[in-house]
């Protein structure tokens, strides 16, 4: 039992469902939803099935490696099935059984939790999936992305890998998890959590972040103007990450927060509209 086993099991399971196994995206993102393999692919009409591991950064969740449950970088296993098949919930349940969870000994619940991401103008309807009170998955039927209605409707399944592995290994401390038989989560990640918590909360240059934010925002607009929507979207992702860092530095007031989120959303919506071939009306 190890995280890499979990990943391999999920990859095998979803590959068998016809998913393409994507490599992780190479930019800092807050969630698997934000990478192009999800964001762009839910915008068009073509069927799409993909599964991938995505390291996800949430700078404000850093705890210097001192909290057994919270980290500034965790790993998501992201699945998109478009259009959502009629038996998608059953397939998801089968994936848990495939991991060796004997569901008849547990309490599996789908609790109302409608997901939304104001920065990328996206929302969906669905649940947080709770296993004996532990949230292990976010299950969402996408309704909108980049401010546009999506159709056909994709189902998005996001497993929290660390959470799920803690359940499987019956561990109370994330750092006690095994990544492989020989390598522990502590070996791999503790130092990273300490150093990045220090960076996120105390060292990141506020001045510098503000200027790279402005730079990326400008570039996103220029690229979108030239119909280079893919690099333009990368710039939006960078903005989102710089914003998160500024937030963890405590440098953003409430009004500024609303303003910056709106700035990113406007850019992302423009990119989405260009990609979908809908000229924005302004």
């Amino acid at each position: 039992m190890s995280l890499q086993n979990l990943i391999m099991n999920l990859q095998r399971f979803w590959a068998d469902q016809g998913c393409y196994l994507a490599p992780s995206y190479d930019l800092e993102v807050g969630a698997g939803t934000m990478t192009p393999d999800t964001f762009f692919r839910v915008l068009d009409k073509r069927p799409w099935k993909v599964a991938y591991v995505q390291p996800s950064r949430r700078p404000t969740d850093g705890r210097y490696g001192e909290n057994p449950n919270r980290v500034q970088k965790h790993h998501q296993f992201q699945v998109i099935m478009k259009p959502s098949p009629a038996d998608i919930q059953k397939t998801y349940i089968d994936s848990l059984i495939a991991l060796g969870i004997r569901l008849e000994d547990h309490d599996l619940r789908f609790d109302e939790d409608d997901w939304e991401s104001p920065t990328i103008g996206a929302w969906g309807v669905g649940w947080q999936v709770m296993l004996d009170g532990l949230e292990i998955t976010q299950f969402t039927y996408f309704q909108q992305a980049g401010g546009l209605e999506v159709f056909p409707i994709p189902a998005e399944i996001t497993y929290g890998l660390e959470r799920l592995e803690m359940f499987l290994e019956e561990k109370d401390d994330m750092y006690d998890l095994k990544w492989s038989e020989d390598v522990s989560y502590r070996d791999l990640r503790l130092e990273e959590e300490k150093q990045f918590s220090e960076y996120n909360f105390n060292q990141a240059s506020v001045q510098g972040l503000r200027s790279v934010f402005a730079l990326a925002e400008k570039e996103a607009a220029q690229l979108a103007g030239k119909n280079l929507v893919l690099p333009a979207y990368d710039m939006c992702l960078k903005c989102s990450h710089y914003f998160n860092l500024l937030d963890s530095r405590g440098a953003i007031s409430v009004t500024e927060r609303v303003k910056m989120i709106a700035q990113i959303r406007v850019m992302v919506s423009r990119v989405a509209a260009k990609f979908a071939g809908v000229e924005e009306k302004s």
């Binding site: 009629a86 349940i93 569901l103 649940w127 709770m130 009170g133 532990l134 409430v254």
Partner: protein, 685 residues
């Protein structure tokens, strides 16, 4: 014949299930009656995965007689009684022999025509059309699509079971065909079930770990809870909403006890129970308002023989409590007083400024209101509470558990040994959250709650945001209702309009609308809230209008006025008096105010009335001041005989202008007394 419909869905939220159940019952009842197949014993049952309708229906519509009229009798038959071409043509067009034509009497005269019996439509056929239409008409606060379909619903519909008289019906919803099977519990028994009747359906489901009746599940949860709590000599921290939610969320309720490490019990009960409820939906277990080292959980399972469900929940809860304990310890390292300045970075509303600005306004308005209410002690505590009441917004505890705002501030105030009055006022200042919630128990809490809520209402109204229909983004209705509830519960006797005025003034230049416009809007807004509250108490709408017509100067007095009207409405003097009051109002309506000159009262009846009026007026004044409107009303009833003879014997609209003006002046004086009690012209008799 039995009609059974089960819509199988992916897990619907409790609030959606509730509205769906109500809507389905209402719509099916109405449409079945309209289709002339009226149902008997129509019931709607539910779990989060099923919406079930069962009813007895006739086999079909009753056969009805149809009448088709043709030409008038005079045109249809010649003088000798033989049919004319018109009659022959009509009979041919209907495919009947001309001899079968009958004479039919109508309002327009006699016609020829035919009568035939038309068979009614069968219920099966009607249902197959009705069901998709009704399901398509349900509406939810948030609707979704799924797959490649265009149908919108709360959550995806995955299965339809429909039986009429034991046989399947043919229809589809968004490409999904109705069938004759359902399945048992999703995890425990996902096998197909083919029921033959509702009774058989309910029993088979129970065999497969599904209880279809919400109330029955609730009962079983409560029964299990009772059994588990008895040996612990403990109670639940009351949470009826959670119980209702859980009864929706599980098809097979199983209650289990888990334990909490003793080290977390030092946390306040409010924090413990919130940490349990939010996220994991667990009940906190208490004895004498103290948390015991246990919790109760409700699982969707027939049991927990290996104890894995309990252990899993214990582990997750421990992590949450660990966080809560960390916040409890770390938050208190910075006092509320030191935190308060950080509120200038927390936005109350973009145009209205920060929470620090709000706290500054509350200091003034709370001190004012404290002074207006019987205040034996100084206002020091309430002013300090106003200054600090929002400081908990910048604590980690409230960031983690936003529903604990206010209460956390109160607990921290107590922990840092601020005066008890300060802590309680902060603790209670969001109460009541609903009409069912309790009003603050202390005067300080009541005052802070009223001034805080009124501050929000005035601010939002003052920047031109209107609350209309279903749109109330700032919860102004709930706030106004809260204010009314506190005033009525605690019998707070003060000039409401003055407080409103003070509140507007406290905003300085920030508000965009002129003061009189804001005040007028708020008056109407509060009148509507009071009307709603009074209606809920079952008071007649016209009595409410009459009481509110006397003004909103003092909301508690508005209540006393309406109570007095309600108490006296059955008394024998009531109706004659109302008629008299209306007569007074009618005659003076549109007349300029004039002053009374006693020397000009020439007739005995007007002098008598004036004398009686003087006595009544002297008596009524103190009664009104005390708020004893029942006594005051009864006193005013005594004017009725005098007014009666006055109107009988004295001509108000006298030729002599002086006399006329003086008589009107007398009636105006009477009316000025009456309007202090109610606007009687609004009472319907």
């Amino acid at each position: 014949m039995e009609f059974l419909l089960e819509i199988g869905v992916e897990e619907m939220p409790p609030s959606h299930v509730k509205t769906a159940v109500e809507d389905l019952k209402e719509k099916f009842e109405r449409e079945l009656i309209a289709a002339k197949i009226a149902p008997r014993n129509l019931r709607v049952l539910s779990t989060c995965r099923r919406l079930v309708i069962v009813a007895d229906l006739p086999e079909g519509q009753e056969a009805r007689e149809e009448v088709v009229t043709g030409p008038p009798k005079a045109v249809a038959f010649a003088a000798d009684g033989s049919p004319t071409p018109a009659a022959l043509g009509f009979a041919r067009s209907r495919g009947v022999d001309v001899a079968k034509l009958e004479v039919i009497k109508t309002e327009k005269g006699e016609y020829v025509g035919i009568k035939k019996t038309a068979a009614g439509k069968g219920s099966a056929e009607i249902l197959a059309q009705m069901i998709p239409r009704i399901l398509g008409s349900l509406s939810f606060p948030k609707m979704m699509r799924w797959g490649t379909g265009q149908f919108r619903f709360s959550r995806p519909i995955r299965n339809i079971l429909c039986l009429f008289n034991g046989r399947g019906l043919t229809f589809e919803i968004d490409g999904l065909r109705a069938g004759e099977t359902t399945t048992g519990h999703k995890i425990r028994s996902p096998k197909p079930i083919r029921p033959t009747s509702f009774e058989n359906y309910a029993r088979s489901l129970e065999d497969h770990f599904v209880l279809i009746d919400h109330e029955e599940r609730k009962k079983r949860i409560l029964a299990q809870i009772t059994v588990l709590l008895e040996p612990l000599r403990a109670q639940l921290y009351p949470d009826p909403e959670l119980l209702d939610k859980l009864a929706n969320d599980v098809e097979c309720p199983f209650v289990f006890v888990g334990s909490i490490p003793e080290s977390y019990l030092e946390l306040p009960l409010e924090i413990l129970s919130t940490a349990m409820r939010e996220g994991q939906k667990l009940f906190s277990v208490v004895r004498d308002k103290k948390q015991l080292p246990y919790f109760l959980g409700v699982a969707d399972a027939p049991g927990d023989t290996k104890g894995l469900i309990r252990k899993g929940n214990e582990r997750v809860l421990k992590a949450r409590l660990e966080d809560a304990k960390f916040f409890w310890e770390h938050d208190r390292k910075i006092s509320l007083k030191k935190r308060a300045p950080a509120l200038k970075h927390v936005m109350f509303q973009e145009k209205l400024g920060s929470y620090e600005d709000k706290a500054q306004r509350l200091k003034k308005t709370a001190a004012y209101l404290w002074g207006k209410l019987d205040a034996p002690r100084g206002d020091k505590d309430v002013v300090l509470a106003a200054e600090l009441c929002k400081a908990d917004l910048v604590t980690d505890m409230v960031r983690e558990f936003p529903s604990l705002q206010g209460r956390v501030g109160g607990l921290y105030a107590k922990a840092e040994c601020l005066p008890a009055g300060v802590g309680l006022a902060i603790y209670e200042h969001y109460q009541p959250q609903s009409l069912e919630d309790e009003s603050p128990s202390t005067q300080g809490g009541a005052i802070l709650s009223i001034t805080d809520k009124l501050d929000s209402i005035v601010g939002v109204v003052g920047i031109g945001i209107q609350t209309t229909g279903s749109s109330d983004p700032f919860g102004l209705r709930r706030n106004a209702q809260g204010i009314c509830k506190i005033i009525l519960d605690r019998k707070l006797n003060f000039k409401f309009l003055r407080l409103l005025d003070k509140t507007v003034t406290s905003y300085g230049e920030k508000l965009e609308l002129p003061k009189d416009e804001i005040v007028a809007y708020c008056r109407e807004f509060f009148a509507n809230r009071l009307r709603y509250l009074f209606e809920k108490q079952g008071i007649r709408y016209d009595l409410i209008n009459a009481a509110l017509g006397a003004g909103l100067d003092n909301l508690y007095h508005s209540y006393l006025r309406v109570k007095a009207l309600d108490a006296l409405k059955a008394s024998p003097q009531f109706e004659p008096f109302i008629l008299m009051a209306k007569r007074v109002n009618n005659i003076i309506s549109g007349q300029p105010p004039s002053s009374l000159n006693i020397d000009l009262l020439v007739e005995k009846e007007e002098r008598d009335l004036q004398a009686m009026f003087t006595i009544v007026k002297e008596n009524v004044g103190p009664m009104i001041a005390k708020g004893d409107y029942t006594q005051a009303q009864m006193m005013v009833f005594r004017l009725q005989p005098g007014l009666n003879t006055f109107f009988d014997r004295v001509l108000v609209m006298a030729e002599d202008k002086k006399l006329r003006k003086n008589r009107l002046a007398l009636l105006q004086a009477v009316s000025r007394i009456l309007i202090q009690m109610a606007d009687y012209s609004q009472v319907v008799v």
